[in-house]
C-alpha cells in the first residue's frame, strides 16, 4: 500500500496503479472462486462417503468391501485398462519410432491420418465400432454372408470389445508423447554405440531403449489413468453385456434411485478412483524425474534414417491396414448407417437417404436444444477459462506469490480425477440451495458450466503459463526502461506475444467441451441436454440411424475445428 503511494509520488500514472490493483483483486477473487468450486465439492465428496444410516461411519465402505460385485468391477476396470495401456503403448511407441527413425514412404500422410482417432470423442468411436462389430454389424454381416455361418465372427460387447476400442483410441497419445522424444534425442548416443562395435539392434537395446523408458513409462501411466477414468467406451460397449467397470458402476449407482443412500455409496466407490488417480500422478512425477538425462538436444546433425529396404512393403501395408481399421472403417460405418433408410436394410443405392439428418434437425427438438446448449456451454466456458488463465498465469509467473504452486495443483484435480467422480462431487455439493443467495445450482445449466470450467481450466492455464514463461521478463523490463508504464508494457509487449497461446488455449478447451459426455450425462436435466448426452441417449434408445447421423455430424464438426486450429496456430494441437 505504502509502496504504491510512493510509486504514485514518483510518477507512476494512476491508471497503471489502478490497473495493477485490478489484476491483483481479480486474481485474488479467481483464486477464492477456484478454492470454492474445486475444494469444496472435493471435501463434501469425502465427507459424504462416510455418511450412512443417519451418522458418519464406515458402513458404506464395509458394505463395498463385503460385496463380491465390488471386486469384480474393480478387476474389470484394471484388466481392461492395463491390457489396453500395454497394447496402446506398444503400438504407439512402435509407430513413433518408425516415423522418427526410418525412411518409411508417405510419412506426412501417415502423420495426419493415424492421429485422427485422438480427435474423435471415444464414445463416438465406440458407437461406430458397434456399427462394425455389433451382432448385426457390417463386419459380422459380411462374414456371415461370405461364409454362410450363422454365428457372427465377433460380437463387440464385453471385455475384449472394450479393450479393442480403448487401444484404437489411446495409441495416438503414446505415439505423440514419444514421437517428439525420438525426433529430438541426440543421435550421437546411438552412433557412439555403433562405432564401438554395436549393431543397429544392439544399439537400440543397450542405449536407445533404456533412455526412452522414462518417456514411455510416463505416457503409459497417463494412458492408464485416462482409461480407468473413461466412461463412454465401457458404457456403450459394456452395458449390453452387463460388463461393468468402476466408472459405469458409479454411474449406475447414482441413477439407482431405489437404493437408499445411493449417492453416498457411489461416493465411497469413487474414493477408489481418487486414490488411484493420486498414486498414478505421483508415479508419473517420479518416472519423469528419474528420466531427466540430458538426452535431448546436442548438435542439429541430421539423424541418419534407418533404411527399411524390403521391409518397406510390409510396413506400408501394415500402416495402411491400421489406417483402415482405426480411421476409415469406423467413420465409414457411421456414415453408412446414417444414410441407410432403416436399420437392417442392405446397402443398396435404393436404400440410401438423407432423411435421418432431416429428422435430426427438424423433428427432434432436443437435438437443436442440445446443439444450442453445447455451443453456449463450450464457448462460455472456454472464454471464462481464457480470462481466468490469463490472470492466474500472470500471477503465477510474474508475481510469484506463495499460492502459485497450490493453484496449479488445485486446477489439476478436476482433470486428473475421473469425470464421473467430479460430477458426483458437484451433485453432492450443490444439491442443496446456496446459503445466502438461495439459488439451487443442481438441475440448471449453471452447474454444467461450472463443471466444464473446473474440468478444463488446467488445459488453458498450462497453455498460458507456458507462454508467459517463454517470454523472458527482460522483454517487459526493456519496455519499462524505454518509458512504458506497467499497463502499457502489458498491452504493447506481453499481450501480443501471448495472444496466440490464449487463442490456442481457447480452442483446446472448446473442442472437448463441445462433445463432453462424462460430466454431462450425470449433471444434465431436461432442457439442459448437451450434444454428448443426446448422442448417448439416442444410442441407448436403440435409434441407430439417428445416432449414426448425429455421431457423424459431431465428428465432422470436431475434425473441421481441428483443421481450423491447425491453420490458425500453424501447428497441430498435441494436447
Amino acid at each position: 500500500m505504502v509502496e504504491d503511494l510512493v510509486r504514485l509520488r514518483n510518477g507512476e500514472s494512476t491508471i497503471a496503479l489502478v490497473g495493477r490493483w485490478a489484476i491483483y483483486i481479480v486474481g485474488g477473487l479467481s483464486f477464492v472462486f477456484l478454492l470454492v468450486v474445486i475444494l469444496f465439492p472435493s471435501a463434501i465428496l469425502i465427507r459424504e462417503s462416510f455418511w450412512a444410516d443417519g451418522t458418519y461411519n464406515l458402513l458404506n465402505y464395509l458394505k463395498l468391501f463385503k460385496d463380491p460385485n465390488t471386486y469384480s468391477t474393480l478387476k474389470n476396470s484394471l484388466v481392461v485398462s492395463i491390457i489396453s495401456t500395454l497394447g496402446a503403448t506398444v503400438l504407439g511407441v512402435f509407430l513413433a519410432w518408425i516415423m522418427a527413425r526410418t525412411d518409411l514412404p508417405l510419412k506426412s500422410l501417415w502423420r495426419t491420418v493415424l492421429i485422427v482417432p485422438y480427435l474423435i470423442p471415444p464414445f463416438i468411436g465406440a458407437i461406430a465400432w458397434v456399427q462394425l462389430l455389433g451382432p448385426v454389424g457390417y463386419v459380422n454381416k459380411l462374414y456371415m454372408t461370405i461364409t454362410g455361418i450363422s454365428k457372427p465372427l465377433f460380437v463387440i460387447y464385453g471385455q475384449w470389445g472394450i479393450i479393442l476400442v480403448m487401444i484404437l483410441y489411446s495409441y495416438p497419445i503414446a505415439y505423440m508423447a514419444n514421437l517428439g522424444f525420438f525426433e529430438r534425442a541426440n543421435p550421437a548416443l546411438e552412433e557412439a554405440a555403433r562405432i564401438s562395435g554395436a549393431s543397429l539392434w544392439r544399439g537400440l537395446r543397450d542405449i536407445a531403449m533404456p533412455l526412452t523408458m522414462p518417456s514411455i513409462g510416463a505416457s503409459a501411466l497417463l494412458i492408464f489413468m485416462s482409461l480407468m477414468a473413461n466412461f463412454g467406451i465401457p458404457a456403450v460397449i459394456g452395458f449390453p453385456a452387463r460388463y461393468f467397470v468402476l466408472t459405469t458402476k458409479i454411474y449406475a449407482t447414482i441413477l439407482n434411485y431405489d437404493m437408499p443412500n445411493n449417492l453416498q455409496v457411489a461416493a465411497a466407490l469413487s474414493m477408489f478412483l481418487v486414490i488411484l488417480a493420486a498414486i498414478v500422478m505421483f508415479a508419473h512425477r517420479y518416472v519423469l524425474s528419474k528420466g531427466s538425462y540430458a538426452v535431448v538436444g546436442g548438435q542439429a546433425t541430421q539423424v541418419q534414417l534407418v533404411e527399411l529396404g524390403w521391409l518397406k512393403w510390409p510396413m506400408l501395408i501394415s500402416a495402411a491396414f491400421l489406417a483402415l481399421v482405426a480411421v476409415i472403417a469406423p467413420l465409414l460405418a457411421i456414415l453408412l448407417t446414417s444414410i441407410t433408410y432403416a436399420p437392417g436394410l442392405p446397402l443398396k443405392l435404393a436404400n440410401l437417404s438423407l432423411r435421418h439428418y432431416q429428422t435430426l434437425i427438424f423433428s427432434v427438438p432436443k437435438v437443436r436444444r442440445a446443439i444450442r446448449n453445447s455451443l453456449f456451454l463450450a464457448t462460455s466456458s472456454a472464454t471464462i477459462i481464457a480470462f481466468l488463465s490469463s490472470v492466474l498465469a500472470y500471477l503465477i509467473t510474474r508475481v510469484r506469490f506463495i499460492g502459485s504452486r497450490l493453484i496449479e495443483i488445485v486446477t489439476l484435480i478436476p482433470y486428473a480425477v475421473p469425470g464421473t467422480v467430479v460430477a458426483l462431487a458437484m451433485i453432492l455439493a450443490w444439491l442443496r440451495p446456496l446459503p445466502v443467495l438461495h439459488i439451487r445450482l443442481y438441475n440448471t445449466i449453471w452447474i454444467l458450466l461450472i463443471a466444464y470450467i473446473t474440468r478444463f481450466l488446467t488445459l488453458g492455464l498450462r497453455s498460458v503459463v507456458a507462454a508467459f514463461e517463454q517470454i523472458h521478463e527482460s522483454l517487459e523490463e526493456a519496455a519499462r526502461i524505454s518509458g512504458a508504464d506497467f499497463l502499457s508494457a502489458m498491452k504493447d509487449i506481453t499481450l501480443p506475444l501471448i495472444k496466440t497461446s490464449i487463442f490456442a488455449g481457447w480452442f483446446l478447451c472448446i473442442i472437448p467441451a463441445l462433445t463432453e459426455l462424462t460430466l454431462s450425462v450425470l449433471l444434465f436435466s431436461v432442457g439442459n441436454e448437451t450434444l454428448g448426452v443426446v448422442v448417448f441417449g439416442l444410442h441407448q434408445e436403440g435409434k441407430i440411424n439417428l445416432t449414426a447421423a448425429i455421431a457423424f455430424l459431431t465428428t465432422a464438426i470436431v475434425l473441421g475445428m481441428n483443421v481450423l486450429i491447425r491453420r490458425l496456430t500453424g501447428k497441430a494441437l498435441a494436447f
Binding site: 552412433e191 555403433r194 562405432i195
Partner: protein, 358 residues
C-alpha cells in the same frame, strides 16, 4: 597398415554439395586435421569416413581394403570399421557408469571380465581418470566426460581415431591443457588420428598435416608450416593466422622473388614477395598477403608512410590498425614499444606472400 585413402568423395544433400570431390591419403600414424569454418563439410567428411553417412560418389580404402564404395554398393557398417570416435557432445551414455561406458566396446567383443577390467583400468590411467570408475556422467565435469569419451574410443585399440571438435565445449584454459595431452597420447600410442576443428590455433599446434576446407572442398593440404608460409590462395592465407590482403601489380622477378608495386598506397612502394614464379607475369594484378608480425613500424622517418588509427593492448603485445593511403593494415609491437593513435609512422615490410588466384 592403417593408411586411409579417400577417393573422389562427394556428398549431396538436396541441392547442397556438402563435400565436393575430396581425395586425400591419410598416412599411417599421422595426426591430420580437417580445418575450416562452420559448414565447410569437415564433419560430414568425418561421418562419411566413420560410416554414418553414405557418400554420393567415391571410395574409401583402409589398409588397402575397400570399406566404402558407391560404385560397388559396398558400405561396411560403422561397427565393423575398427575406428574409434569422440563426438563433439561426447555422447557419454548417461545411464551407465564410467566403467560400463568404457567397457562397452570390449563387452561387445565378448572379452573376459578379467581382461575387460584390466584394459579399462589401463585406459582410464592413460586419460587420467583413475578412481572415477563408478561415477555416473552427470556427476562429472565437462572435461572429465570428454576423457571418458576418449577412453571409450581408445579401449578397443582402433586403427584410426576420429575426433569431432572434441575440445570446443571446454573453456579456454582446459582446451590448452588438453591439446598437449592429445599430442602426447598420439606420440605415445603411435595412432593415426583424424581431427576436425574450426580453431586454427588448435589445428596448427597439434597436427602433422592440415587439410584446409571450404564449401565442401579441400583447398590445401600441407604441414602447418607450409600452410602458414605458403598459403595456396587468399582464403587459406586469411583463415590461418592473420593476414593483410593487399592488391599489387607485378613489376618483375629477381632471385626467386617477385617484385610488385603496392596499389592504393602512397605511390611507388615496392614489395618483394615469395610465391610461385608462374604467377609473376609483368603487369599482372595479384593478391599479396602480409602477416602483421612481418610489418615493423617506427616513428616516421621517410619510406612508406602511415598513421596509427587504432590501438589495442593485449598484454603480450600491442595491436595496431595503420592507415596507409587507402589501405588499413594490421600490425603489432611488443609491449615495451608503444605508439599513439594519430601518430605518423614508417612501415617496413620484411616478408610478403604472393597468393595464387584460383
Amino acid at each position: 597398415m592403417s593408411q586411409l585413402q579417400l577417393e573422389n568423395l562427394s556428398k549431396q544433400f538436396g541441392n547442397v554439395m556438402a563435400v565436393r570431390n575430396v581425395s586425400l591419403t591419410v598416412q599411417d600414424r599421422e595426426l591430420i586435421t580437417f580445418l575450416g569454418p562452420s559448414g565447410c563439410g569437415k564433419t560430414t567428411l568425418l561421418r562419411i569416413i566413420a560410416g554414418f553417412t553414405k557418400p554420393t560418389t567415391g571410395n574409401i580404402r583402409l589398409g588397402g581394403r575397400l570399406i566404402t564404395s558407391v560404385d560397388q554398393r559396398l558400405f561396411v557398417p560403422p561397427e565393423k570399421r575398427g575406428m574409434g570416435m569422440v563426438f563433439q557432445s561426447y555422447a557419454v551414455w548417461p545411464h551407465m557408469t564410467v566403467f560400463d561406458n568404457v567397457a562397452y566396446p570390449l563387452k561387445l567383443k565378448k572379452r573376459s571380465k578379467h581382461e575387460i577390467a584390466r584394459r579399462v583400468e589401463e585406459v582410464l590411467g592413460l586419460v587420467k581418470l583413475e578412481g572415477l570408475e563408478f561415477r555416473y556422467p552427470h556427476q562429472l565435469s565437462g572435461g572429465q566426460q570428454q576423457r571418458v569419451a576418449l577412453a571409450r574410443a581408445l579401449v578397443m585399440e582402433p586403427e584410426i581415431l576420429l575426433l569431432d571438435e572434441p575440445l570446443s565445449n571446454l573453456d579456454a584454459k582446459l582446451r590448452e591443457g588438453m591439446r598437449y595431452e592429445i599430442v602426447e597420447l598420439q606420440r605415445r600410442l603411435q595412432m593415426t588420428i583424424i581431427y576436425v576443428t574450426h580453431d586454427q590455433v588448435e589445428a596448427m599446434s597439434i597436427s602433422h598435416r592440415v587439410a584446409v576446407m571450404e564449401q565442401g572442398a579441400i583447398l590445401q593440404v600441407g604441414t602447418p608450416r607450409e600452410i602458414y608460409e605458403m598459403p595456396a590462395n587468399a582464403f587459406v592465407a586469411d583463415f590461418i593466422g592473420r593476414a593483410n590482403l593487399v592488391q599489387c601489380r607485378v613489376l618483375g622477378q629477381h632471385d626467386n622473388l617477385i617484385q610488385c608495386e603496392l596499389l592504393y598506397a602512397p605511390s611507388g612502394y615496392r614489395l618483394e614477395c615469395a610465391g610461385p614464379s608462374s604467377e609473376g607475369q609483368i603487369g599482372r594484378q595479384v593478391v599479396v598477403a602480409i602477416r602483421p608480425e612481418n610489418i615493423e613500424i617506427q616513428p616516421y622517418q621517410g619510406g612508406l608512410a602511415g598513421t596509427i588509427s587504432q590501438k589495442l593492448y593485449l598484454g603480450n603485445c600491442f595491436e595496431y590498425i595503420v592507415r596507409v593511403g587507402d589501405l588499413e593494415l594490421r600490425t603489432e609491437t611488443p609491449p615495451h614499444i608503444e605508439f599513439q593513435e594519430g601518430q605518423q609512422v614508417t612501415l617496413l615490410i620484411n616478408r610478403a606472400i604472393l597468393v595464387p588466384t584460383e
